[in-house]
């Protein structure tokens, strides 16, 4: 365990050093807060979380899994509470209840006449309620508040290592399974006909989503993580008609929102999770209005020109 931890800390230090080279190019007032160690760690966490949320966001948006993302993110709460009671790292409990709930949703949907959206609503509210009941029994804990609303400035080393590992797993999985994932997202029937194991792809993608949510908890919190799983992908979908480009734009939107949100939350002294999501929402609004082909302005301009002819 020790050599692995040393390796992870080494990788984290190297990545922070890389990020600081970019920060040193910024004007002095912006770069100043990053002299503190906790700010550097917050910056690295934000970049990683923005990137993997942006990556997964494309699949969430195109597969219409927004509600599923919301469901999984709420379902991690009882896991966090139970892990707190047992003295486990919070992400183990979070991952277990998140994964169990998403499997439960799939089972309800397949084997009963309950429809998908009702199955999700049922399962995640039940899980969330269980989490609230357990928490109400525990003395108020600021740590649990951070899980609910995120506190990137207080990121612990274990949480940063988890975020790093989750990012590596997500990037590797999407790279190795790029084509099966693309085909499954675009046309699952065709993936089935070409002999791909569609259940494996389906549940693999759900587990990847759960992992991303768990890794993002300390940064944006349970309530707002779903925004980072929808907004970057939705923004990118407005800006391009190519999937690889959509991935790139979505990752950029995620990273930019996380970093700018972090800086704003420090300079305005507001909650980091909320600041990050508001930056992402603003980027979406700009794309919605000004996207060259699918934006509202471009659409109305085309309609106006058609009417004039």
């Amino acid at each position: 365990m020790l050599p692995l931890e040393a390796l992870a800390t080494g990788v984290i230090d190297a990545l922070i050093a890389l990020l600081m080279m970019a920060v040193s190019l910024l004007p002095e007032p912006l770069a100043a807060p990053f002299e503190y160690r906790f700010m550097q760690r917050a910056l690295l966490t934000s970049v990683l979380v923005g990137a993997i949320c942006g990556l997964l966001s494309c699949y969430v948006v195109l597969k219409r899994w927004s509600l599923l993302g919301d469901a999984i993110s709420h379902a991690v709460l009882p896991g966090v509470a139970i892990a707190y009671l047992l003295g486990w790292p919070f992400f183990i409990g979070a991952f277990i209840t998140g994964a169990l709930t998403s499997l439960g949703i799939g089972a309800l949907e397949r084997h009963t006449r309950i429809k998908a959206d009702a199955a999700m609503g049922l399962m995640f509210t039940a899980a969330f309620a269980l989490g609230i009941v357990i928490i109400s029994k525990i003395a108020t804990s600021t740590h649990l508040m951070h899980i609910l609303f995120g506190n990137v400035l207080g990121v612990q080393t274990t949480a940063l290592i988890l975020t790093l590992v989750a990012s590596l797993v997500a990037v590797l999985a999407i790279w190795l399974a790029y084509r099966p994932l693309l085909l499954y997202t675009f046309d699952p029937q065709q993936a089935q006909a070409l002999g791909f194991n569609t259940s494996l792809i389906h549940y693999g993608l759900i587990l990847l989503l759960t992992l991303t949510i768990v890794a993002s908890l300390e940064t944006v919190g349970i309530i707002l993580v779903v925004a980072m799983l929808i907004t970057p992908g939705a923004t990118a979908h407005l800006l391009t008609d190519r999937f690889p480009t959509m991935l790139a734009i979505s990752v950029s939107v995620g990273v930019i929102s996380a970093v700018v949100g972090l800086v704003l939350s420090v300079s305005l002294d507001v909650a980091s999770g909320g600041a990050i999501v508001l930056v992402a929402s603003s980027l979406f609004l700009i794309a919605l209005l000004a996207a060259p082909k699918h934006g509202l302005v471009a659409r109305h301009w085309r309609r106006w020109r058609l009417n004039r002819v």
């Binding site: 195109l62 790279w175 190795l176 084509r179 099966p180 693309l182 085909l183 997202t185 675009f186 046309d187 029937q189 065709q190 993936a191 089935q192 006909a193 070409l194 002999g195 791909f196 979908h237 391009t240 008609d241 190519r242 999937f243 480009t245 959509m246």
Partner: protein, 264 residues
């Protein structure tokens, strides 16, 4: 004709299938030889698409056996011998994908055979045979000029042609088509039928679910009448007679075709 040609393309033995306990196919026994064009005809909800779904694995048989090229359907899917063109009623057409990449997805199964390093690279550096097959298929359906356009911008007939190109690019032994002519403009229809003629003359097996009697009469070698159970199977002239179509509507099997039905 080699030994392999005597293996039937599709062989069903006392096949039953159901969706949510609701039976869709009952007691289907039939044999389709390779290299022929079969039209599957029947009323809506008669189980025509279900038969194709059994082949592509999105539906599992309740009872009975289905063999594709003498093998299990799953093994033949993985071997890339089954190309499938769905009705695509529930497709998300605003998916960010170009016409060319859509056709290339037909090669994704075959790309599993490529060495690992090729699969990890962007397709520009990957095995050029996939790209060539996709370009040739786009040429065959006269859509090469639209290769870089997003799929969602095309008309209904153009989309069908691209989806046919995707099936062709796979170069599979068996082509399964679910209503390839539904909602298609006349020029596209002629082009699709001519393309399928060419595929058959190159030795491919064409299995097509259709509501279009004239095209079945003109092009198919066999016609399969299905209304939950097999009503009849034979030449288009025989099966598309008024008596047989009346039987199809009511759902009573043809007495002469009792037991095992083998294509003409």
């Amino acid at each position: 004709m080699g030994m392999t040609d005597s293996i039937p393309a599709l062989q069903a033995t006392r096949l039953y299938a159901a969706y949510h306990q609701h039976p869709v196919l009952e007691d289907i026994t039939l044999t389709l030889p390779q290299g022929q064009w079969t039209a599957i005809i029947g009323p809506n909800g008669a189980g025509k698409s279900s038969l194709l779904n059994l082949v592509i694995g999105s539906l599992s048989p309740l009872r009975g056996e289905l063999r594709i090229l003498g093998d299990s359907p799953a093994a033949q899917r993985r071997a890339g011998n089954i190309a499938y063109m769905a009705q695509h009623e529930n497709m998300e057409w605003d998916f960010p994908i170009s016409v060319r990449e859509t056709v290339l997805t037909g090669r994704y199964g075959l790309m599993r055979e490529d060495p690992l390093w090729q699969r990890l690279l962007p397709r520009h550096w990957a095995n050029p045979s996939h790209r060539q097959a996709a370009e040739a298929a786009l040429e065959a359906v006269d859509m090469a000029d639209h290769a870089t356009r997003p799929i969602g911008e095309l008309s209904g007939g153009q989309k069908k042609r691209v989806m046919l190109a995707r099936a062709l690019a796979q170069k599979a032994k068996i082509l399964l088509l679910d209503e390839p002519l539904a909602g298609v403009d006349p020029p596209s229809e002629a082009l699709i039928l001519a393309t399928l003629e060419r595929e058959r003359s190159n030795g491919h097996t064409v299995i097509m679910v259709t509501h279009d009697m004239p095209s079945a009469r003109r092009h198919a070698d066999n016609v399969l009448l299905i209304n939950r159970t097999l009503i009849g199977m034979g030449s288009p002239g025989e099966m598309l007679s008024d008596t047989m179509l009346a039987r199809l509507a009511v759902g009573t099997p043809d007495a002469r075709h009792g037991g095992v039905r083998v294509a003409a």
